[in-house]
Amino acid sequence: MEFLDYTFMRRALLAGNLVGVIAPLVGVFLNLRRLSLIGHTLSHVALAGVALGLFLGFFPVYTAIIVSILAALAIEKLRRDYRDYAELSLAIILAAGLGLATILISASRQSVGIHSYLFGSISLVGTRDIYMILPLALVIIAVILKYYYGFFYLAFNENEAWLAGVPVRTLNIVFMVIVSVTVALAIRVVGTLLIASLITIPVAAGMQVAWSFKSTIWLSLLFSLTAVNLGLILSFYYNLAPGGTIILAGVVILLLVLLVKKIWFMLRRDL
């Protein structure tokens, strides 16, 4: 437990665990609604936000949050108004985000720091990041708890959720804001390149073995937190980028879950 002696590591673990909670919470709903491409798109847009912050000399996480919220609201509007072109509009926003990010990074004098925003960084999680991640993560958790069955109905059948009195339009907007903030907050820990995976992989593992919606959420949380902590500790001891170690730990967990499930079915068949 030597890693706990380091302040930066304690901060990284706190930030990592908070992100490790909100990413799968948001991810369960995002994946079940088959909107995981939105997470992917927003992470590229968030990179443009980071680049904008580096370029203008603002704290990049602030600009990343603002830019991804704006993009998320635009995506929601396009999704509602042009249902048939939803994927195309995502592709356009993703391309625009990445293009903008590239230009801003190359124009910026401080582009050395970009590395940590692409792959995540444990030594750079500062007190400022904690003050940002902690309250926002708590708000996201509270909002998901408050509208739990509303988000559930939207995920199960968006077209008919209004029949139960679910305020579909409002909840969709709230949801998109939550997703975009989650993506922006995860930048520090896993980096923009791997956020979408942190949102998808633990949930994919959870869905393999879940017996209900609630258990899907708990299992996804369990797998996500395991991956985050394992990844951060490995990253500390072997001096690796945490984004990569976290996601690889997640992939290994997913493979193990698939393997255990397969063995379980084979045993049951033989009995």
């Binding site: 079940l32 088959r34 708890l145 408050k146 509208y147 739990y148 069955y149 509303g150 559930f152 109905y153 995920a155 199960f156 059948n157 077209n159 008919e160 209004w162 029949l163 139960a164 009195g165 679910v166 869905m207 879940a210 017996w211 209900s212 919606f213 609630k214 258990s215 899907t216």
Partner: protein
């Protein structure tokens, strides 16, 4: 006072009227069947009765109140034609699916409490599916899922029940179960039911009113203007599946 009154109602999505000057009156406890070829306006009329669509002309009232003024959607229970279009691998239990319909009855935090859990159980008992409460929705058969959807609307104790082709793709035995349950809801609980079906022979044994649709017009009791033979002819012409009453 009639329970449901549809007076001179017309509706057009674009220019063409798909519901054309429909008049209809139902009493409390009626079981009405809507039959007619595809595109004749049955689903559209249900959506008008539900208050989801607004008539371009005419008025629809439920117990004397215009449906446009009813803000509590759960007073009318509705199963749409698309209800089965959900992701069959969705990881939710029957309890969660039925419970989600209690959204408007949940408190500040949208979760289920003891009292709501009881409502779920009672609704499942009604459709004889209480043993399946913890099963995943996607693991049930089409007929069982349809009963879960009945339970989902019954948790809110609606006054009027609208069922849009609930038996499409459901096998004969499951159909008998379905009619037994709807019969219980209709007769013992005295709920007014409107059901769209293509199976005129079977539904006419259960419903006390048959309303035939053609080209946006509704013909009560399928009298004068629209005969049973016309309807059967139309069914054959449009190649709709007719399920015989006796299968031998």
């Amino acid at each position: 006072m009639s329970f449901l009154k549809v007076e001179g109602v017309s509706f057009a999505y674009r220019k063409e009227r798909v519901v054309d000057d429909v008049n209809l009156e139902l009493k409390l406890g009626d079981f009405a069947a809507f039959i007619g070829p595809n595109g004749s306006g049955k689903s559209t009329l249900l959506k008008l009765i539900l208050g989801y669509l607004t008539p371009t002309r005419g008025e629809i009232t439920l117990k004397g109140q215009p449906v446009a003024d009813i803000m509590d959607w759960t007073r009318v229970g509705y199963i749409s034609q698309q209800v089965k279009d959900f992701n069959q691998s969705f990881p939710a239990t029957v309890r969660e699916i039925v419970g989600s319909n209690l959204y408007s009855k949940m408190g500040l935090v949208k979760f289920l409490n003891q009292e709501l859990e009881k409502k779920i159980y009672r609704a499942l008992e009604l459709v004889e599916m209480e043993d399946f409460i913890n099963r995943k929705i996607g693991n049930l058969s089409g007929g069982q899922q349809q009963r879960i959807f009945i339970a989902r609307l019954m948790v809110n104790d609606p006054e009027l029940i609208l069922l849009d082709e609930p038996l499409a793709g459901v096998d004969i035995r499951a159909q008998d179960d379905f009619y037994r349950i709807i019969g219980k809801i209709n007769q013992e609980m005295n709920k007014t039911v409107i059901m769209v079906s293509h199976d005129i022979q079977v539904i006419s044994k259960h419903a006390n009113k048959i309303i035939c649709f053609e080209g946006g017009r509704a013909y009560p009791h399928c009298s004068q203007e629209f005969s049973y033979d016309d309807y059967m002819h139309e069914l054959r012409r449009t190649n709709l599946r007719i399920i015989p009453r006796h299968d031998h």
